[in-house]
């Protein structure tokens, strides 16, 4: 009897290397373009001597990140939590609903027209109604975020579930698979790239939604901070808010991209 070798830490798989390379590249790329962009901004404004109250230079407001980091960070955190909650809620409801609608014809015929209508309607108009229902609270922002990302995820997931090769059904049935097994082993992973495509659109919409919702009905978050800075003509803080929103959006995109690579290691690297 030969001894089984002890389980050692496996060398990094191709997928893991890919993720690391992807991270590095994303960060390097964004840092470089941000630096060039800021330098151009600073240079042009100095050249034409633009006053701070009209457009601040990076040197005017970047320092505020250090001075006001507490305020900026806590608002950024509030926005991130709202974003994560609304987006998570959207995905958790949209994906199972998509499967149900694709599987049950009557449900799709009944619900799809409503969904098409709601999808076309700009979701932010519902904000004032939500404020009447729930008052000025983070719940309003969460619900707006939910509505913003719900539809792209739903529509793309439905497409993913529907487009699957019908012969896959033959395959799982000939294996005696239960409906749950067929979903877990075949249908869900087969539609994963479509669900992620929906989530990629959804996250962009969600960031848009969270800021607008915080403009109109919130007492925390970057949208709220920007609105308040605007009413005080605090240009420096306003621009800090703008940059912070971009950073939050970027982080969420990176997070999504990374989880996509981890959950779908089979995707052909491009």
């Amino acid at each position: 009897m030969s001894e089984q070798p002890a389980a050692a830490a496996p060398p990094p798989t191709r997928a893991e290397k890919l993720i690391r390379a992807g991270w590095l590249w994303t960060i390097l790329n964004s840092v470089l373009s941000v630096v060039i962009f800021l330098a151009l901004w600073e240079g042009l404004l100095r050249l034409f001597d633009v006053p701070v109250w009209l457009v601040p230079k990076p040197s005017d407001f970047l320092g505020r990140f250090l001075v006001d980091y507490r305020e900026i960070l806590s608002n950024a955190l509030a926005t991130s939590v709202t974003l994560a909650a609304g987006f998570g809620l959207g995905v958790v409801i949209a994906v199972p609903l998509a499967l149900l609608m694709v599987s049950i014809g009557a449900l799709e015929r009944g619900l799809y027209p409503v969904i098409v209508f709601l999808n076309i309607m700009p979701k932010t108009v519902i904000g004032p109604i939500l404020i009447i229902w729930f008052g000025v609270s983070p719940l309003v922002s969460v619900l707006v975020v939910f509505l913003m990302c719900f539809f792209p995820v739903l529509v793309d997931s439905m497409h993913g579930f529907r487009i699957a090769d019908p012969r896959l059904n033959y395959l799982t049935r000939s294996m005696g698979a239960t409906p749950w097994q067929a979903f877990r082993y075949v249908r869900l992973p087969a539609s994963m790239s479509y669900i992620f495509a929906g989530m990629r659109i959804g996250i962009v919409k969600a960031v848009e939604g969270v800021i607008i919702a915080e403009f109109i009905g919130s007492s925390a978050g970057l949208g709220f901070m920007i609105m308040r800075a605007s009413s005080f003509m605090n240009m420096e803080l306003l621009f800090c808010g703008l940059v912070a929103v971009a950073i939050v959006a970027l982080l969420f995109n990176i997070l999504l991209g990374t989880s996509e690579r981890i959950m779908m290691p089979w995707i052909r690297p491009r």
Binding site: D165, R167, L168, Y170, L171, T172, R173, S174, M175, G176, A177, Q181, Y185, V186, P189, A190, M192, M264, W266, R268
Partner: protein, 265 residues
């Protein structure tokens, strides 16, 4: 391999099988009526022009589609739901793009709840026999068309089914791969003697592999000729070595000519 786990091929008996799609005036009569009698461990091919209902026949035999009329019995048991004692090889492989070659094969083990170690051992044996060593951890997009179809064959055999259904499995492959994979399939079949229903539009493949060939007419497909292929096994790459091969091929061609499948002046 442990012979006690080896299943004996199933028998297939079908009577008056027809299949129509849709109802009323727009109904499309796709198949039949046909009768099929396949003995345990027999290798039978269905050959016919495209759209004649060959693939439909396979789905009916697997219990995956209900016949419009007629009945099927597998091992004398009337067929009422999909049979699971079966391996199916579809046209263009139908591998799951998100699983490696080995995991595609072991999907059978996971869904059927078979013993992991035993299935893995059997899968490795099949990989060796099918020339797939080294491909275990590759995803389908990293494999050539021929290798994908070989993985698909391993997936259809890993759970030791009593019957193998193959729907134009080599149709998308080049002629050289096709000849090799035909031989590899024959060798595997000689080892286990499962009942095989092999759907093809290639006369070479039908004669090269089968004990019997059923020739089908154009849609709605009927069986118009049945040819017993009496050639020694394993059969060579170049079937022309046998004078009988030419006679069998000529017979199929002449049936097709009579049916108007071929129009040569």
């Amino acid at each position: 391999m442990d012979t006690s786990t080896m299943s004996i091929g199933a028998s297939i008996n079908a009577r008056g099988l027809t299949k129509s799609y849709g109802g009323g005036e727009g109904a499309f009569h796709a198949l039949g009526p046909i009768d099929l009698d396949i003995k345990p461990g027999e290798f039978v091919s269905l050959i016919g022009p495209s759209g004649c209902g060959k693939s439909t026949t396979m789905l009916l035999v697997a219990g995956l589609e209900p016949p419009s009329s007629g009945s099927i019995a597998i091992d004398s048991q009337p067929l009422t739901k999909p049979i699971t004692e079966v391996g199916i090889v579809f046209q263009d492989h139908l591998l799951l793009e998100f699983r490696t070659a080995m995991k595609n094969v072991l999907l059978q083990q996971e869904i059927r709840g078979l013993d992991r170690a035993e299935s893995r051992k059997h899968a490795e044996h099949l990989f060796a026999r099918l020339g797939l060593l080294g491909a275990e951890d590759r995803y389908p997009w990293q494999l050539s068309g021929g290798m994908r179809q070989r993985v698909s064959i391993a997936r259809a055999l890993v759970h030791e089914p009593s019957m193998l259904l193959m729907d134009e499995p080599f149709g998308a492959l080049d002629a050289i791969s096709r000849t090799q994979i035909r031989h590899d399939l024959e060798m595997l079949w000689l080892e286990t003697r499962k009942t095989v229903l092999f759907i093809t539009h290639s006369i070479d493949e039908a004669i090269g592999l089968s004990d019997r060939v059923f020739v089908m007419s154009r849609s709605p497909g009927r069986i118009v000729d049945e040819i017993k292929i009496d050639l020694p096994r394993p059969r060579p790459a170049h079937l022309g070595e046998y004078p009988d091969f030419a006679a069998y091929a000529k017979r199929i061609y002449s049936v097709f000519e009579k049916l108007g499948v071929y129009k040569f002046d």
